[in-house]
Symmetry: C2
Subunit: 267 residues, 2 copies
């Protein structure tokens, strides 16, 4: 079988963070089917080696390509940073990723300098700086690894004093620099947008790659003439490698609605 | 081959937390070889389903039993809580685990009531309360899941204001109860001992199962007449499923010395 305009969009992440991208896609493209893959048995990737991330990522991409998706979205910054090229090399359909999307959006709005926050692996990969400099070599990029933000989001402490203190601690060295844009370089971070906005202040615009990648997807589907012609309620499938305690609760928080059609594969 | 007195002790954990147990063993039993297994590619277990934890745990136990260890130590509370019985059922050698050790130590020192802190999975398994009540049904047990403590330890914020605030928040409902002992029900927590002691105050004694299990191991080896008769420098092997960034740094922090003989298996 081959992908057609009626095929689903494939979205994948190391866990549930990529559901913020699914949510943005649902809003921007309400007639597209989506199949989401979250590697919940092996999450988080942000603290693993490049080698392991590469192996896990290509395994997931192959799984979705076997389901004949018409477009692949890497909704995890760590995977995009480490294995984006490997996924592109094996995919017969277009591949979009959150780092490319975030870098483009940041370059469009920044005049002075760009801050990037993400997991240690994303930040150490230097992928945002590379992508941003490819678009505009004159812009300075200041990156900061924030390993505690993912657990804080998953704990649900979205407006907690502890989270605010943690953000202040992490962002101190970034705010010393002259930046006017801050890329939320991890799909968990959009849930902290209000608090990050408060800590960052009015002079710094936040870049949420979930929204940007939904725009990019719409554009690519138009270029390829691959929008789903059907005007019926779309089908959303969620494939995960584990269904842990509180999965539905946390997942729904990211997705902004109930999780339906949940399927588990065991690797 | 069969295990002899010269065989190594097998210790395993979902990641590196179990190295606090290895450290206690090295101090208590300085002539024993140790082989440690840390599932660093799939860590953390504390947020996974029972089913997945069961499969991963028995896979690791089989790996160590194939290496002819003379004793198995489950140095991870989550694994012990969920899959301790499954490991015992398949092991021809004695199996010790941190929950049993922690429960015994707490019962020995507590007169009034026992607090237990751990990962969500450990706490939800109710394993500490079951073990404690089997020893003394009159003692009350108050448990609290603390999902942020592991990431805080791995970030190295061992005496940070954020960690203190987080502890206060988690322990508030536990301190309302009448307790005189607090079990550190996760192998990461011994690194927070000074701060937890400060937050808990003088009236509450902390139970560190790493120390307790080293005592238990010494006793079992005596009973079995299986102490290593050799009086030479022992061999320490570390087997992991991933060697991520900063692994040596974080590992050494837990172990209190350099990590030698590091080997990676790919699953």
């Amino acid at each position: 079988m081959v992908a057609t305009a009626r095929s689903a969009i494939g979205v994948f992440d190391s866990g549930i963070g990529g559901l913020t991208v699914v949510r943005a896609l649902m809003e921007r493209l309400p007639f597209e089917d989506i199949v989401y893959f979250g590697d919940t048995a092996r999450v988080p990737y942000g603290v693993k080696s490049n080698d392991t991330i590469h192996n896990f990522t290509t395994q997931i991409a192959d799984f979705l390509l076997d389901r004949d998706v018409k477009l692949l979205i890497i909704a995890c910054n760590t995977m995009a940073a480490v294995a984006g090229d490997a996924v592109r090399a094996r995919s017969p359909v277009p591949v979009l990723d959150v780092i490319d999307a975030g870098a483009r959006a940041a370059v469009e709005i920044s005049q002075r300098g760009i801050g990037v926050i993400g997991t240690p692996t994303t930040v150490n990969s230097n992928a945002y700086a590379r992508n941003i400099h490819a678009l505009n070599p004159a812009l300075s990029v200041y990156s900061q690894a924030c390993p505690l933000l993912v657990p804080l989001v998953e704990e649900g402490w979205l407006e907690h004093e502890v989270t605010k203190l943690t953000l202040q601690e992490y962002l101190k060295p970034v705010f010393v620099e002259s930046i006017d844009a801050l890329v939320l370089g991890c799909t968990h971070y959009p849930l902290l947008k209000p608090l990050i906005g408060q800590v960052a202040g009015a002079g710094i615009r936040l870049v949420d790659s979930a929204v940007t990648i939904a725009e990019q997807t719409a554009r690519v589907l138009t270029e390829m003439d691959m929008h789903n012609p059907q005007r019926v309620a779309p089908r959303y499938d969620y494939v995960v490698t584990d269904i842990p305690l509180r999965f539905q609760t946390i997942g729904s928080r990211f997705l902004g609605r109930e999780l339906s059609h949940l399927e588990q594969v065991r690797w």
